[in-house]
Amino acid sequence: MDGGSLRIPVPDALIVDVGGFEGPLDLLLTLARQQKVDLREISILALAQQYLAFIESAARARIDLAADYLVMAAWLAYLKSRLLLPPDPEEEPEAEDLARDLAFRLARLEAMREAAQALMDRPRLNRDVFPRGEVEAMEETRVTRLTASLYDLLSAYARLRTRDEFRPFAMDRVGVYTMEEALDRLRPLIGDWADWASLSDWLPPGWTDGPRRRAATAATFAAALELVREGLADIRQDGPFAPIHLRARAPA
């Protein structure tokens, strides 16, 4: 056997299709079928060569191959070298055994695929073969029976044991000043506020900078509107974006 005769061209279709393979064994099986011999008789040396050539062209085409394809390539390169060298009695298992093992796995995968197909081709219930279509009305006693399936049981347990992973998302409330808080603060103060004063002077201590200031301003403004609605205060703004002023409403 010279190296040249082993070089089987890799069809472009395979490269385009690389995503369609279910892992390295599936790819190897597709390549092995091109040898058109019984999979148990296959030349593993030739197959290794084919696989390595395929990986090489995939790399040239800049296709990102999953790691397991590369691990298989490394292993096949090692197997190839051992098959070409004279057997080393020290090394276990022998290269021939490894090659036979790989051929076995390929043949078994193909056989299981054929068996799966044969299974699917069998007459199927409610497609080819039918049960009695009519349920006979039976006038007798009704019994209610509770039931559950294994699927229900396993799902329930899985749900319980992972409940903490799926607890509802709760908003972080730090840095939020609510309208209720602003109202609680303003209501006892407003009676003493006879003259117009800017709303920004009403902000609670510690809420006068950054995002906290924005939150407190919004809440205080909403609370001020509530007080106006209740007839406890007047509110005034001289122009768009001008400061907002608030004062207690004089008793009528």
Binding site: P131, M138, E140, V143, T144, L146, A156, A158, L160, T162
Partner: protein, 197 residues
Amino acid sequence: MTAEPPFDVPTPEEQERMVEALLFASPEPLPTAKLAERLPPGCDPRAALARLQRLYEGRGVNLVRSGGAWAFRTAPDLRFLLSREVVETRKLSRAGIETLAIVAYHGPVTRTEIEEIRGVSVSKGTLDQLLELGWVRLGRRRETPGRPATYVTTDAFLDHFALESAADLPSLADLRAAGFLGEPTVQENLPLPDPEP
């Protein structure tokens, strides 16, 4: 007989088989005209119906005609056999199935332990229901203060869920691998149930 030439009329025996299968699979009684429609061209359901009616005479199931439509019916004298048949099945409640799962995985387990795992209290009705179903029974009392009752699953439980033993329930890792759970998380590192007693 395997591949049928399109314009070959089936033999009377074949027609009989076809009518028999059509009536058996139909969810409602079939009028003669409907049968004729479903059969290959050239068939006459009336002849087949008459033969079938004779064939099933005196058997456990009879071919009967009611209001111009045909159906198989249990022989009237055997209806007493079917009387117990009417069973309405209802799904076990969520509380029930969760409690059952906990007893299966962690039994013998006390009610307090079930509540700890579920994070909510277990109503008495839930456990009573499982006891009544025969899926759960009382185990040994726990030798702790108060000597609480424990619960374990029964052989009827194993039978219903087609399990060989409670120890054969898949571990959480198996469940995850089979697709019952989301992605692995820190939960993985928590001490998990060892269903071994």
